[in-house]
Symmetry: C2
Subunit: 199 residues, 2 copies
């Protein structure tokens, strides 16, 4: 078995262990149990739980980029809606437990610079992708050229972060957020010409 | 000393202990140390750390309502901006540590129904106040009557929640959110007539 396969197996086991135990109570033993490996084998690859979780955040980041980059659409408007949907819709059945574990990890960012660095990478990727779609839309006449693409992208990231937090805290579905975001894009970002065609 | 004073002292000590230790590592002993009371004295008032923290969330809720309800303004637009400012601007010096502790507690909501119940109360209060301001603004001609006040209020709560989460995760300031929210209100919610006068 190559190191790549072992790494992939440990990451998948970490995912399952986080869904089952949450972050606060997670131990290397929990991950070892899920992976069918010994704790010593895990420590051979990762010095500490902190190191393993940093690697896990990078693994999540890679998967997230793969899932969301290059979303399809006839124009920038459709790509923006598809991108927002890809972020709001989690691909797995354990999304509630996993979203909770991720919020627990987010709350540790001020104590764990390694977590903060990797979580910030997520937000930067999101903001960068959204900004690129918005700028392409200004370029091709889909979006209002008066818009500040950078600030607007940041605002959209804040909304997506808020929706993820609320899902954990109160169990609220993201449907109201999706509806309001779509309306925001349609009435706020589209040019009049595009609005007539698209909505 | 009345029970009211003791309760108030324990709540203030819990605040300081959360700022100093975060939620995950918080013990009854930490709170006792901050309050100058014995652990036994705390247990006389609260059966468990969970009970004490539920009481603490209620105490925070009362303070939050007191600080944000009845914000002043000439019209609904000014009241909306003042309300958003009151939520974004925390009144204390320990706001970073405290914001972190609150996010840790938010992430425990799925495991602790007592936390979820009280945190949902916060969100319901926020949504209710915002909806009332929006409806008053439609009534007095400040806001666009086409707006769905309930959905818009929920959307604003999501944005405020996202800003609080980002502040913890990446240490980002809330200024971009404040700017974009103000712009959203001005270009999205105001009637044309009000926009000319106010902006």
């Amino acid at each position: 078995m190559s190191d790549g396969d072992t790494g992939e197996e440990i990451m998948a086991a970490t995912y399952r262990a986080l869904c089952a135990n949450g972050y606060a109570d997670l131990t290397m033993q929990d991950i070892a149990d899920e992976s069918g490996k010994s704790k010593a084998a895990l420590h051979y690859h990762y010095d500490s739980k902190h190191d393993l979780l940093c690697a896990f955040l990078e693994y999540l980041y890679d998967g997230f980029v793969e899932r969301t980059s290059g979303v399809a659409g006839e124009n920038a408007y459709e790509r923006l809606v598809a991108f927002v949907d890809a972020v709001l819709d989690r691909p797995d059945d354990d999304s509630e437990q996993f979203g909770t574990a991720i919020l627990e990890i987010r709350a540790q960012a001020p104590y764990e610079p390694g977590f903060r660095e990797r979580l910030t990478e997520f937000d930067e990727y999101l903001a960068g992708e959204l900004e690129a779609i918005l700028e392409a839309g200004v370029e091709d006449g889909t979006f209002d050229p008066e818009m500040d693409a950078e600030d607007t992208a940041r605002f959209l990231v804040t909304v997506l972060t808020g929706a993820a937090t609320e899902r954990v805290t109160s169990g609220r579905s993201v449907e109201c957020t999706r509806r309001m975001l779509t309306e925001y894009v349609e009435t706020h970002l589209l040019t009049d010409r595009t609005r007539e065609v698209e909505t």
